[in-house]
Amino acid sequence: MLIIKPKKEFEVCIEAELTPELAMKSVEEVRKFKVYYGNRVVELGELFEVVKEGEDKKLVLDGDFGRVKWIGTRMVDGEIVVKGNVGANCGAFMRGGRIVVEGNADDWLGIEMAGGEIIVKGNARNLVGCAYYGNAVGMTGGKIVIEGNAGNYIGEKMNGGEIVIKGNAGDFVGTEMRAGVIEIHGSCGFVGGDMRGGEIRIKGNFDLLPTFRKTEKGWVGDVNVKGEGVIKTF
């Protein structure tokens, strides 16, 4: 297990593609790991304290990582626990393993995630599990659980996997979704625009688009794309 702790408050955001692979390296190697501090490339050890405790493939990010981006990018296994907030693009293109965020998550959580699990104890911002700019497919597998609220544009172009939001979600949930499940325990705005498939379950209130047919299964649509997605309440 590797514990990484910020040494100071950062002047600008940091980009650090920290994955559990780091826990397999020596502390010296980890300290030399390159991170981007604005336009300066610096060694991780300059900005963070690094402590190693045991050999398990686990990263503990101890402190506020709300301004550290790309944590857990492309990770395939192991675990990351973020004790505070986490910055944008956390868990991007993730294929396996587990990320637990004890605070809040910034935008673009789990971009095009294909496997693994992300749990956010606080709130998440926008674009959870979406397709990155210009790409055709969003999340395809794995599970994202937000215990608080989530922002707008959740699960756009989703083609598999599961997103659970225990609180409220914002607008435009599951737009152009093709497969997979989104479950919202609270309320949300527009749901399922141009949805082709998959299922969205909502406990609270939501804005239904005028392009869904009421059936026994729930609301089916979006008729504009001859979709067979299902929206239902629970």
């Binding site: 990155y132 700019y133 210009g134 790409n135």
Partner: protein
């Protein structure tokens, strides 16, 4: 001054075929040995290396609103990093490249000239701004004429003097190089949601046909004596069965003659060489087209080869782009442009597992192999058929049947019975392929100082780590491909700009434009132009591009 020593020179224009010789460069030009002081020359040892003229791309979409819209709508194309900012510019792009990337990548490959193949006249300044931002290479742009109301009017009136004056005026105003025609009449029909389907369809609202548009523009072009011929993107592009329209269009050159060059260049013919009646029974019409082209001595074509992988369809052929969007369901941009022209953009890709894509791939190669090497230029119609950076793939394929056999195994077997590719034994020689990428495109464009290494030519030179005397082109295709991907040296205007794929020096080349105003009386057309400007959204006085706005203009005056 440069002294390129002991290279193996292939220079088809000057009938030099793999001869060991020295090349001398002074003031940006190739000069005779006696013109240089050898002790002042920087010597490049080219022993055992191939020395050829810099490549000339006569048809690519490298600048202007189309490619820039493509970049904007496809950020996923821009995520391949080619160069990090430092001494040189940062460059990006998978197939669609940024302007600096276009210049750098051409240069690395040994290409030193490229022409933007479709410039909307009202957007000419934008095209030139982008051309000015492309480093390393010489450039030019071809304004489009085939759907311009003013052109229709001159033809309706059967007034050749007016048409000539219009062409001369427009080429000057756009700082363009020649006459491009895209789906003549079809783009105007698109303004009503339609297209034209044959050479004799009437253009909506006008008493003209595609046949007349092409013929009259050839006539005007030839009477003006422009360096380049009419450059035609045929009707029915992308439609199964279109090879017949293409053949009919090619035959419109009959009766015209120019001692220096072709009178009609038909472009990216791969997209216009389909037999069959739908995509279900589509087949190649390349062999038939090749027969016709080979039988004529006044027509040239370029391949428009398709490369497997990503591409972006971008043409002035707006109705075709919409059909493509409907067919594949991809994003679609369109631009109806005043009363001049239109354009469209759709992302595409070519997959070897797809029968149609494999057919397109095969047809491009068939054209390159079946058409006389003196009549077919190597292009991919960048970025429509794929990246220009894969020209070496096409070069190697043309020279090696063995390579083609290997590639044929990887593609959809639909091509086995629908094309002649599997049965073609021809292997083009290096001499022919160098011609198809250098001296021929230069000749087709009418650029006398490009594409060869004779005294007086521009010192645009590529040196490849490939000894033609010791290379078995049939069998060593991988080496051939690799050698042509990265020039050992690229020399532009006498300066070394890249070495082994590394950038050495950033230079900015010339933009060629043609001035034929002395050949006409502009006053015969000005009243019509003034009247038509009631239907423009800009003032006549604000239309066009002044020479002093360009970074490095080079005027070719037609007298």
């Amino acid at each position: 001054m440069l002294w390129i020593k002991n290279g193996i020179v292939v220079d088809p224009k000057n009938k030099i075929n793999a001869e060991k010789m020295d090349i001398f460069v002074k003031n940006g030009k190739i000069v005779a040995e006696s013109d240089v002081k050898k002790e002042d020359c920087k010597i490049i040892d080219a022993s055992g290396k191939l020395v050829v003229a810099g490549g000339v791309d006569m048809h690519a979409h490298i600048a202007g609103s189309k490619i820039n819209t493509g970049r904007t709508m496809r950020p996923e194309e821009m995520r391949v990093v080619r160069n990090i900012a430092g001494k040189f510019r940062a460059t990006l792009g998978r197939v669609l490249l940024t302007a600096p990337a276009i210049g750098y990548e051409y240069a690395k490959m040994g290409y030193t000239t490229s022409f933007e193949a479709a410039q909307p006249p009202i957007g000419a300044l934008h095209t030139h701004e982008e051309l000015d931002s492309i480093p390393m290479i010489d450039k030019g742009a071809l304004p489009v004429f085939g759907n311009w109301h003013l052109v229709f009017k001159c033809i309706e009136e059967k007034n050749l003097e007016k048409l000539k004056a219009l062409v001369a005026w427009a080429i000057e105003r756009t700082k363009g190089f020649g006459v491009k025609v895209v789906n003549p009449g079809g783009v105007e029909a698109w303004m009503y949601g339609g297209n034209v389907k044959s050479l004799d369809d009437q253009v909506p609202g006008f008493n003209v046909t595609p046949r007349e548009i092409i013929t009259w523009l050839i006539r005007a072009n030839e009477e003006l004596g422009l360096p380049h011929s009419v450059h035609l993107h045929c009707n029915n592009l992308g439609v199964p069965g279109n090879y017949q329209t293409t053949i009919e269009s090619i035959k419109l050159a009959n009766g015209f003659r120019n001692p220096k060059r072709q009178v009609l260049h038909v472009t990216h013919v791969q997209f216009n060489a389909y037999a069959g009646s739908s995509w279900r029974d589509a087949a190649s019409g390349a062999a038939e087209i090749a027969k016709v082209v080979n039988s004529m001595d006044n027509v040239t074509i370029d391949m428009g080869a398709a490369i497997f992988g990503h591409a972006t369809a971008m043409t002035g052929d707006a109705p075709f782009q919409f059909s493509l969007h409907k067919l594949i369901g991809a994003r679609w941009s369109n631009k109806d442009t005043e009363v001049e022209t239109g354009a469209g953009i759709v992302p595409i890709g070519y997959l070897p597992s797809n029968p149609v894509h494999s057919l397109q791939w095969a047809i491009g190669l068939e054209l390159g192999l079946l058409v006389d090497s003196n009549k077919v230029v190597l292009t991919t119609d960048y970025p429509n058929g794929g990246p220009f950076t894969e020209y070496p793939y096409v070069m190697a394929m043309l020279m090696s049947k063995k390579m083609r056999e290997g590639e044929l195994k990887k593609v959809h077997q639909y091509v086995q019975k629908t094309t002649t590719l599997p049965s073609i034994d021809t292997e083009k020689t290096l001499y022919e392929v160098i011609h198809m990428t250098r001296s021929l495109p230069a000749k087709v464009l009418g650029l006398e100082n490009k594409g060869h290494l004779g005294v007086g030519a521009d010192a645009d030179i590529a040196i490849y780590n490939l000894n033609p005397l010791e290379t078995d082109f049939s069998n060593e295709f991988e080496k051939v491909y690799k050698s042509f991907k990265t020039a050992e040296y690229t020399i532009k205007g006498g300066e070394i700009i890249t070495k082994n794929g590394e950038l050495v020096k950033e230079v900015f080349g010339k933009t060629f434009w043609v001035d034929a105003r002395k050949k006409v009386d502009l006053e015969v057309i000005m009243p019509d132009i003034k009247e038509y400007f009631n239907y423009y959204s800009v003032q006549l006085g604000n239309y066009g591009v002044e020479e002093r706005w360009l970074k490095n203009p080079s005027r070719l005056e037609v007298v």
